[in-house]
Chain length 288, copies 2
Amino acid sequence: MRNINKDNITDVFMEYMGDEVPPRLHEVMESLVKHLHAFAKEVNLTHEEWQVGIEFLERSGEISDAERHEFVLLSDVLGLSSLVDMLHSHPEGTSSSVLGPFHISGAPPLEIGGDLKGRFEGEVLIAEGIVKDTEGNPIEGATVDIWQTAPNGLYSSQDPDQDTYSFHGLQTTGADGRYAFTSVKPVEYTVPSDGPVGDILNATGRHPWRPSHLHFIIKAEGFRDLVTEVFPDDDPYLDEDTVFGVRDDLVMSYKQMPAGSFPDGFALSGTVDEPYLRVDFDLTLVRE
Amino acid sequence: MRNINKDNITDVFMEYMGDEVPPRLHEVMESLVKHLHAFAKEVNLTHEEWQVGIEFLERSGEISDAERHEFVLLSDVLGLSSLVDMLHSHPEGTSSSVLGPFHISGAPPLEIGGDLKGRFEGEVLIAEGIVKDTEGNPIEGATVDIWQTAPNGLYSSQDPDQDTYSFHGLQTTGADGRYAFTSVKPVEYTVPSDGPVGDILNATGRHPWRPSHLHFIIKAEGFRDLVTEVFPDDDPYLDEDTVFGVRDDLVMSYKQMPAGSFPDGFALSGTVDEPYLRVDFDLTLVRE
């Protein structure tokens, strides 16, 4: 096609694709380019704006490395990551929510009732619940990969004062499906805002805060993996998570427990006399 | 908003934007995110496909540097660069076409009738024409920035055997608006296909070829800058330029001229006895 114009270029793109393109790839590319072209036409995108976009992508590439994932962050703050989560959440299971960039593989095993608080200061928190199927039956042998911020708002990979696996643990449920551990409250924090994505937040009048949350990845044989987070109902950023991660069913409550009531069955049992917090949150998996 | 779902997330994104956002930025972001979300929903984008997209962007960032502009190339092969050109081309002027990544600043002045061929082998080409306004009046003092491939298909920045400014020149028109220079035929070439954008071309059954062309940037006081390219009508890739750059009015013809007819007024006059090629192509600028 030599007479390309703004009305036929999207069709010409489709014609350029070969006959042997896998149908799913064809479908995704067709939709992507259709929307890309429609966007440019709808706003009558200028060369200068196009240049800003190219420089944004180049800067995002430059700041990215094994630790810093600016394109993931871009997807997060544009709501794309959460949308993909929601498109594939099953209504009968616990909602999924953004993985985020701070999960690390190889978390050490954490016994039922084990502790993540370690040497860190803060009010003790007990988190526990049942990993169950959609009929409410407990799931034995489910792995619950847990991670969260330290009280300073940093994940271990961001903080030289933490060990590699501080506030990371991998628990395996028994026949009762129960997970249970002690920790301290995670805290709200900002996504990295010193790069190009931070510039977008700034230019569009947005803040970089996420409400505090506990991260989980739950896996069990025969069930769909669940990547999720749970959020306390008193967090100031609950209604304005900058990465759109909050879902109704992922909101939990901290119960304030009185001094002297700390239960048995925890690694910290017998060592906590003060008041503490408790959260009960069951996690429902959907069969594959 | 804590009850974010796939039906309201686009609206929530709009609500997150502040009241002080400049209207044009608001408009562009709204359209961009509306189409991004619509794309993800339309194809029911999976986590695995999302991951492929993120890795594609990260790889594009890694391969990019001052010489290699993978995101520009991505825009080019998706037709976005050409669409932006066409959105802002004026119907009464010469069409604009993709700048491409091989323009370099500071090309040396080239007298009217000057030569770009230099020490390179190949059939001599005379290119000339009038830079004029939309009423056909010649424009004096217009600068015509010219660049093209060497006969080996490489631009000077890609080729250690060329000097920095081989096949680059900057001509300024006189009262007659005429530009004129000698060179050799540019040749068709492939866009860089050894990176992530090449993987897209490969996966979608496309080739990386561009038809041969001469590049021009024409500037004149009181007129809109024109970035364009002209293509010979006998090029095998004329109907399938992988970056969608060809427009009807940018197609020209090489005239085969007989031996002994080489005209006066060129740097090479008196030195060319063989047959040569000639192309006449006027360039029309639109007032600002």
